[in-house]
């Protein structure tokens, strides 16, 4: 079920109403049932895959806790391998088969062409990683193994974050299923506001920009440099609003039910460096890779060369996590290269800034750093969004060619949509400024009821009227 669907508009109030009327013991069961229903709205039979993952890690957790020493480590690896096998079969088998055939062809071995066409279960990478974090934390002794199957299954399947995160850690979420959540008016209102902001990001900004981006990136060779540049800029906003919008809706939904999920985005395009960007973008995944891949590899507490390798491995895997395509791997590696280059050139950059008299805390320096970080991110998004590396090469080399202001529109994106799209981006930036920096939310709370409700109602009506409702999935569902 999509958050931006009529079905969810009926599903959510029903789930919330029943949830608060049920006694504590029944509530987790109710959440599990609701989560199953939510997931089965996509492809019902795929819930069995989820069940397999849940069963593997539920029993693995208990066994790991019971044993010590080498056997404990072996069990951990067995659990990780089993869980990752499910992920491999459904997500990467086709990709590796084709890649292997291609590689064999290079050596003159012509293997028979095998077509592996499996529909990827929605959000598979997310709940797989959440399950993996559970067994690793049990292994590390940071989390007690959960003996109640219903509670554990609900932890993996909790519908607000089931298909696109945030990827929670057991220490943060699991215990919340045992707590009694009273109906808290302030919490519910806060959650609803968060959801409304998420819907604005998704429906008004991301899905409107998607119309343009899909047209241009669907056939880059049929579009001029201006269109390619604009589409790349739009994609940067589309993917941010799509994913952070989903996270906002997820956090808001959970908050209405009385749960706290981890923050996933902190205005990443305001970052002053790529390193900072990755502390603000998809935080739950970045920290996952840091905790379970980068640090176990040695992190930065190794020699320089090994540190570089650790970064590239972490970002390469992160790229592959996003999708079974070389473009994603290259995107991950490119970000790794950015970080390596960033750390190597830091000293030189500081010297250049000092030489031209731009101090460390000046607005000019911040503006230059923020802009350059954003541009580098946009360049990486080209690799992420393009269908293949051939398209990447074409787009990068044609960004500045054949600009024609009269041919700015595309098949689906009429010219009249352009002011709406631009206005949506400006409104987003203003909204973020008001929300984060000026705490407009609490300011609104001090207004009289008619004014406050007027402001909220206007916002909701704007989202309804300017939203795009094309049953568009969230981009990150496919990961």
């Amino acid at each position: 079920m999509l958050f931006n669907s009529l079905e969810f508009a009926i599903f959510f109030p029903v789930v919330v109403a029943i949830y608060f009327f049920l006694p504590q013991r029944q509530r987790v069961r109710w959440l599990l049932a609701a989560s199953c229903f939510f997931y089965m709205a996509f492809i019902p039979v795929y819930i069995l895959i989820l069940l397999v993952t849940i069963l593997i890690d539920y029993f693995a957790g208990m066994w790991i806790e019971r044993v010590e020493g080498r056997r404990r480590t072996q069990l951990l690896w067995l659990s990780i391998l089993s869980t990752c096998t499910v992920l491999f079969i459904f997500k990467y088998l086709g990709f590796f088969t084709i890649s292997f055939e291609g590689l064999a062809g290079l050596f003159g071995w012509h293997l028979p062409h095998t077509v592996v066409a499996i529909i990827l279960p929605i959000g598979l990478s997310f709940h797989t990683f959440q399950s993996l974090s559970y067994v690793v934390e049990v292994y590390r002794g940071n989390q007690k193994a959960e003996r109640n199957f219903i509670v554990y299954a609900t932890y993996v399947m909790f519908f607000p974050q089931l298909v696109a995160g945030p990827i929670e850690r057991p220490q943060h979420l699991l215990h919340q299923f045992r707590e009694y959540h009273e109906f808290n008016y302030a919490g519910v209102i806060s959650g609803l506001k968060r959801m409304a902001w998420g819907f604005f990001k998704k429906l008004v900004v991301a899905d409107r920009l998607a119309l343009y981006v899909n047209d241009v990136y669907g056939a880059p060779r049929s579009h001029n440099g201006l269109q390619l540049t604009l589409a790349t800029f739009f994609f940067a906003y589309q993917i941010y609003c799509d994913f952070s919008g989903y996270s906002d809706i997820a956090l808001g939904t959970a908050q209405v039910l009385g749960f706290r999920l981890m923050e996933n985005f902190r205005t990443p395009y305001y970052s002053l460096s790529i390193s900072e960007f990755w502390h603000r973008w998809h935080i739950s995944l970045s920290t996952w890779f840091k905790d379970y891949v980068y640090l176990p590899l040695g992190g930065s507490r190794v020699n320089g060369r090994r540190h570089v390798i650790n970064l590239l491995i972490t970002f390469g895997i992160s790229g592959l996590w996003h999708g079974a395509n070389w473009t994603y791997v290259c995107w991950g590696l490119l970000n790794g290269v950015y970080l390596v280059a960033g750390s190597f050139t830091k000293h030189w950059r500081n010297r250049i800034f000092s030489a031209v008299g731009i101090g460390e805390q000046t607005i000019v320096r911040k503006a230059i750093m923020m802009t350059s970080t954003f541009l580098l991110t946009c360049l990486a998004w080209i690799v992420f969004r393009a269908k293949n590396l051939g398209d990447v090469a074409y787009i990068v080399t044609h960004l500045s060619r054949g600009w024609n202001i009269h041919e700015i529109k595309t098949t689906q994106f009429m010219l009249r949509q352009l002011p709406v799209a631009v206005a949506a981006i400006i409104a987003l930036e203003i909204g973020q400024l008001l929300w984060d920096r000026l705490a407009i939310s609490s300011g609104l709370g001090r207004l009289s009821l008619p004014l406050r409700w007027g402001a909220y109602a206007t916002f909701v009506i704007i989202v309804i009227m300017f939203g795009v409702y094309q049953k568009a999935q969230f981009i990150y569902f496919q990961f």
Binding site: F20, L192, R416, V420, A457, I461, M465
Partner: protein, 431 residues
């Protein structure tokens, strides 16, 4: 302050040990009362919160309903564009003698002003972008429901005329009129979710519509209407030849196959029967198609055989303009399927001449002139050239007609005895 202290302060009695002087039962009773009171307070606050949230969503629902009504009323008052055309049809303000039905090809090929000028019969174009025969039939039914019966229906055919509707194109154009059963019934067959647009406020305007028609609706309430691009239902295409055909050719190097769906065939037959039942003359016209495209239609012979069969079986003319004089000239086309404004102007004149011939032949005794049922455009042009048929029999009729047209279009008043030209170049594509 400890709880015991506060309790003692309230009662004013303490024991030596500092414990409140009260029996165990009294203590429990009191604390239970307080707990209950606190629970009640919590429940009251929760209910108050639920009530507030419900009120807010009721307010939103009311706003949505009010907006929906305003947009619908606004769109029904739009005087220009596609909605302007639909409003004239649904409000019974067309009542033309000749009605043209069909897809976007009909919409952009037939200029009713030229037909009206040359035949002396009022004409109106009901063509709809992206419509198949079943949808075209629905529009015709709605037209007949609200307007006087026309003398003639010119149904424009396409290679894909026998294809059934899979998805309604631009459903938003029908949303203000979904309470009209003639439109709603067929739409429900093509799109099972159309009920949402009918019953859920704003659904049809914001979910199914990508063109911000609601802005037009709200604007119309203030008296604003967009620039007119539709002339008696005719929407000329102002673009010159584009490279769409080249892209199409490279995308379909082996050509295209148009399916002959049983439902599509049934719709065409139903349209014929409807005209027969209502005693309306029907002419099938295959308007010009770019010659190169004709070669790319793999089952063209099969489709045209069906057209001929239907025309023969139901005894009505089928005019095929496949070999139109300018079918190879890209100057008259926007793409392979659509004439541009210049092409539409030339074609409409050709067709109007032929209609004149047809009407003249009908007015003569049958023994003298029996119009050939199936003729190509070239054949007719030659025949007309030989006979020199012109339907302008009475100069005063022409004057009356032109005067009427001009009055309607330009609010000109023409003194009797003067034949004026329409100030707007007809068929130029410029309003």
């Amino acid at each position: 302050m400890r709880y015991e202290d506060s309790f003692a302060d309230n009662t004013g009695r303490r024991t030596e040990t500092g414990i409140v002087e009260s029996t165990q039962g009294q203590w429990e009773e009191r604390s239970t009362d307080m707990r209950e009171e606190s629970e009640k307070e919590k429940a009251r606050r929760a209910m108050d919160g639920v009530r507030r949230i419900s009120c807010f969503f009721i307010l939103i629902a009311l706003l949505v309903c009010v907006l929906n009504v305003m947009i619908t009323i606004g769109l029904r008052h739009v005087k220009t564009g596609q909605y302007g055309v639909s409003n004239r049809i649904m409000q019974g303000r067309v009542n033309a003698q000749i009605v043209i039905t069909g897809s976007s090809r009909a919409l952009s090929h037939y200029d009713p002003r030229i037909i009206e000028l040359q035949t002396g019969r009022s004409a109106f174009n009901l063509g709809r972008n992206g419509s198949q025969s079943d949808m075209q039939l629905a529009v015709l039914r709605a037209y007949l429901e609200h307007n006087q019966k026309p003398e003639m229906v010119i149904h424009n055919l396409d290679s894909f005329s026998f294809e059934a509707t899979r998805q309604v194109y631009d459903p938003a154009q029908y949303v203000p009129y979904l309470y009209d059963e003639e439109l709603y019934k067929p739409l429900r067959q093509f799109d099972h979710n159309i009920w949402r647009s009918r019953y859920l406020p704003l659904y049809g305007y914001v979910v199914t519509d990508m063109n911000f028609s609601w802005v037009l609706g709200l604007g119309a309430l203030t008296g604003w209407s967009p620039r007119e691009e539709y002339f008696e239902g005719f929407n000329p295409r102002t673009k010159k030849w584009t490279d769409e055909f080249q892209s199409f050719k490279s995308a379909n190097p082996k050509g295209v196959y148009w399916p002959l769906d049983p439902e599509g065939e049934r719709s065409v037959e139903n349209l014929i029967r409807l005209c027969k039942e209502r005693n309306i003359q029907l002419i099938f016209v295959y308007s010009p198609e770019y010659a190169e495209m004709q070669k790319l239609t793999m089952n063209r012979v099969e489709v045209f055989t069906r057209f001929h069969e239907l025309a023969k079986r139901y005894k009505f003319p089928f005019w095929d303009y496949s070999d139109w004089t300018y079918a190879r000239n890209t100057q008259y086309f926007q793409n392979s399927q659509h004439l541009n404004a210049e092409g539409a102007d030339v074609f409409s004149k050709d067709l109007a001449k032929r209609l004149n011939g047809y009407f003249s032949a009908q007015s003569q005794p049958p023994a003298i002139a029996q119009p050939e049922l199936v003729m190509s455009g070239a054949q007719t042009a030659n025949q007309e050239g030989r006979n020199g048929v012109l339907s302008f029999a009475d100069i005063s009729t022409i004057q009356r007609l032109i005067s009427g047209v001009l009055k309607r279009w330009a609010k000109f008043s023409i003194p009797d005895g003067i034949i004026a030209c329409n100030p707007r170049p007809i068929g130029s594509g410029q309003p």
